[in-house]
């Protein structure tokens, strides 16, 4: 199998530190005392809670329904009782809370009824729906709903399906062990993706520091009679970035502001393929995932953990050493420090690293940028981090966008190589979130403007319509008066002579015209009765009620004002 490999620019080679967690097979984490399942675990819409506090749920039961197409469902990880649906601290660098379902397990671990399906007999739309409702999301860390990536483009033929088993970040080994131990299920999952997307080739990229995983997958591919190509790629961070792996395997470079699908390539993580297979063929939604527990612990190992397990209980499995001073979620390059031990593990959690001052020493203080260009050489996206830093530092966000800050994948290569120890990625994250906030504000103000203008338009239209309606009513009344001119005070006032039949029509039109003019004038002039308080209005109503009988007795008075009062009263 000769495969030409390509190179991506930049990248770094940090110490991998992977071996310590590879000695033992994947362990099954015990049931925690309490599970905290955040509803929002994927990119896109927040699922709506479908259970109530006090309700009993079964393992795998839907507790949050997908909201829209770009959204993914959430399930109960075990059977038990819903204690509450409340805001709980999330696995997020902000340390803020998010709406979560808190479940107390009953220990029976009782599954909901599972229906294994043969996806080949189902239409592709149905398979995508199953994946959405099973909560299958990209487990590489981006947690993008997988079903949304499984519709082949109508315009661009699908050339390659790239399966990402590179796992380039130091310390993380969860995909490695998954590929070693569950290779066949991974390949079966890839086959589902293949059948939905119909690519010409399927390429599975694995960094060459995982020969066991490569061998296991090759064996599985042969055993299942598939024609997937398992390719060992050179170990270099971030070879596991989607765009980098696509570049290495296919030679295609995804341009700025384009997606890989525009070039006929789609990319999935191996763990995603595995969960997709479990969801379709076994009816098991995503309720657990494999998490590497490593770093400053006595027993580094990979564990299959229920989603929602609190960090506090999970770390006990590895027995953290005494000098542990924090826990990173994700790798040391792109991960963040967990805000609290109460935060739960989520679908995006691929690794928990116990940190210690010796493992991750306090970075030396930031020094001025000397424009050495080391960051530009390390950047796998060929950006100019020193320029972006300069303008992010000065909060000149327009300029950072000119230097394509949104193509930055925050891989951390630039910060890693910076001789001045500048935390470049932190500046870029800051600039990006500021730009997003500005765009949100802009959108909100555009919406407000549109609504304000529409309201003004509507006000004017309503005014015009009201005037027209009143004029019509007046005209109709005039016609009525023509039929019985004796009853009409207005007709009496405008016709002092004896009523001559020929004259009546003419007089009535004049009266109608006067009425119309009056109505128009009244609607045009603002009334001082607008904007009164309820008390004032009540008072007015009372006065009007008192006046009504008086007015009724004066009804013979031939002026227009009394006539109007009378007609409204009757």
């Amino acid at each position: 199998m000769l495969q030409q490999l390509f190179k991506f620019k930049g990248g770094v080679k940090p110490q991998t530190s992977k071996t310590s967690s590879l000695h033992e097979p994947i362990g099954q984490a015990p049931l925690p005392a309490r599970l905290i399942v955040p509803l929002h675990q994927s990119i896109g819409g927040t699922p709506n809670p479908l259970v109530e506090a006090g309700e009993h749920v079964l393992k795998g039961q839907l507790i949050g329904g997908a909201d829209g197409w770009i959204s993914s469902a959430v399930h109960a990880p075990t059977s038990g009782t819903v204690l509450a649906i409340e805001e709980h601290i999330a696995a997020h660098p902000s340390g803020l809370s998010t709406l979560s379902v808190i479940i107390e397990p009953d220990g029976r671990d009782e599954w909901i009824e599972r229906t294994p399906l043969d996806y080949r007999t189902l239409p592709p739309e149905r398979v995508r729906e199953i994946l959405r409702d099973a909560g299958v999301v990209g487990l590489g860390g981006a947690v993008f709903p997988s079903h949304a990536k499984l519709t082949a483009s109508k315009t661009v033929p699908m050339d390659e399906l790239v399966i990402n088993g590179a796992e380039c970040e130091p310390f993380i080994t969860c995909d490695d062990l998954l590929m070693r131990e569950r290779a066949e299920d991974v390949i079966r999952g890839v086959a589902i993706f293949r059948d939905l997307l119909m690519p010409k080739r399927v390429l599975i990229g694995i960094e060459d520091n995982k020969p066991e995983a490569v061998a296991a997958l090759e064996k599985a591919v042969q055993a299942l009679g598939e024609n997937f190509e398992v390719i060992a790629v050179p170990t270099r961070y971030p070879a596991g970035g989607a765009k980098q792996l696509i570049r290495v395997l296919t030679g295609k470079e995804v341009p700025a502001a384009k997606r890989s699908t525009d070039l006929g390539v789609q990319c999935f993580n191996v763990a995603t393929a595995y969960t997709a297979y479990r969801a379709v063929a076994h009816g098991e939604p995503v309720i657990s995932r494999i998490v590497t527990l490593t770093g400053n612990v006595e027993h580094p190992r990979n564990w299959e953990v229920l989603i929602g397990t609190p960090l506090r209980e999970f770390i006990q499995l590895g027995k953290p050493k005494n000098d542990t001073n924090g826990y990173l979620m994700g790798g040391p390059m792109m991960g963040f420090e967990m805000p609290s031990l109460d935060a739960p593990l989520v679908k995006a959690t691929n690794c928990i690293i116990a940190a210690s001052p010796t493992l991750f020493p306090q970075p030396p203080p930031e020094m001025p940028c000397i424009r050495c260009g080391a960051c530009a050489e390390a950047c796998p996206h060929e950006l100019q981090p020193f320029e972006m830093y300069w303008f992010a530092h000065a909060k000149n966000f327009g300029k950072t966008q000119e230097y394509n800050i949104f193509d930055c994948i925050e891989c951390g290569c630039c910060s890693y190589v910076c001789p001045s120890h500048i935390p470049l990625v932190q500046y870029f994250r800051f600039a990006k979130s500021e730009i997003w906030a500005r765009e949100r504000d802009k959108k909100a103000s555009d919406l407000a403007k549109a609504r304000f203008e529409f309201r003004n338009l509507r006000d004017e239209r309503e005014k015009a319509e009201k005037a027209e309606r009143l004029a019509k009513a007046a005209a109709a009344k005039a016609v009525e008066k023509k039929a019985a001119p004796v009853d009409s005070g207005a007709a009496l006032a405008t016709s002092p002579d004896a009523p001559v039949n020929a004259d009546v029509a003419k007089k009535a039109t004049i009266a109608a015209a006067i009425e119309r003019a009056r109505v128009q004038r009244e609607t045009a002039e603002p009334k001082n009765t607008d904007g009164l308080t309820i008390a004032q209005r009540k008072e007015i109503a009372e006065i009007e009620a008192r006046r009504a009988p008086l007015l009724a007795s004066e009804q013979t008075a031939p002026n227009a004002e009394t006539q109007r009062t009378q007609s409204t009263d009757t």
């Binding site: 997020h92 803020l96 949100r440 407000a448 403007k449 304000f452 529409f454 309820i534």
Partner: protein, 180 residues
């Protein structure tokens, strides 16, 4: 002396005629500046600047009638942007700068008078006569125009709390340690 006067006068007349002709020929309708100014204003339509909406204020700025520091929701940031656009010096805001707010109706107290609905410039309040009203928070611009008309004072303004959706990464700050 006479020639000098005649020549200068002649020159002035020729130039004046040319300018007069040009001003007719190249007449521009409207002021495109208004749109640019309006794009900077936050569109809360609150009227705190003394003009009935953001567009009239933008027009007043373009005409040079209004100062650029009258928009409290735009804050100092807005003043700076306007100063940048118009080539003026940014002046301190003519009011207290407030965080972004959202109006909240105390639904137990609301008597359903619809006065706030009429006051809301962006139709962000739903309700009907004698029915409880509520505010569509995502549409509320925090303009406070609904607070005053309420006869039972059941509307209050609350600053928008930080959540995971609108959370922002902070500017990197480092402890400065004294060198030994």
């Amino acid at each position: 002396m006479i020639t000098a006067i005649v020549i200068m006068a002649l020159g002035a007349i020729v130039l004046g005629a040319a300018l007069g002709y040009a001003s007719v020929k190249f007449k521009v309708e409207g002021n495109p500046l208004v749109e640019k100014i309006e794009a900077i204003l936050p569109q809360t339509q609150c009227g705190q600047c003394g003009y009935p909406g953001c567009k009239p204020y933008a027009e007043a700025i373009a005409e040079g009638e209004a100062d650029i520091n009258l928009c409290p929701p735009g804050g100092m940031e807005g003043v700076r942007k306007l100063a940048d656009l118009l080539g003026r010096e940014p002046t301190p805001l003519d009011a207290e700068e407030k965080p972004k707010q959202v109006a909240i109706i105390d639904e137990a107290t609301c008597i359903g008078c619809t006065l706030c609905i009429q006051a809301c410039p962006v139709d962000a309040i739903v309700g009907a006569a004698k029915q409880m009203h509520t505010i569509v928070a995502s549409l509320c611009t925090g303009c406070e125009l609904c607070v005053k008309p309420c006869p039972v004072e059941c509307i209050r303004m609350e600053p928008i709390a930080e959540n995971i959706e609108n959370w922002k990464w902070k500017y990197p700050v480092f402890e400065i340690k004294r060198a030994a």
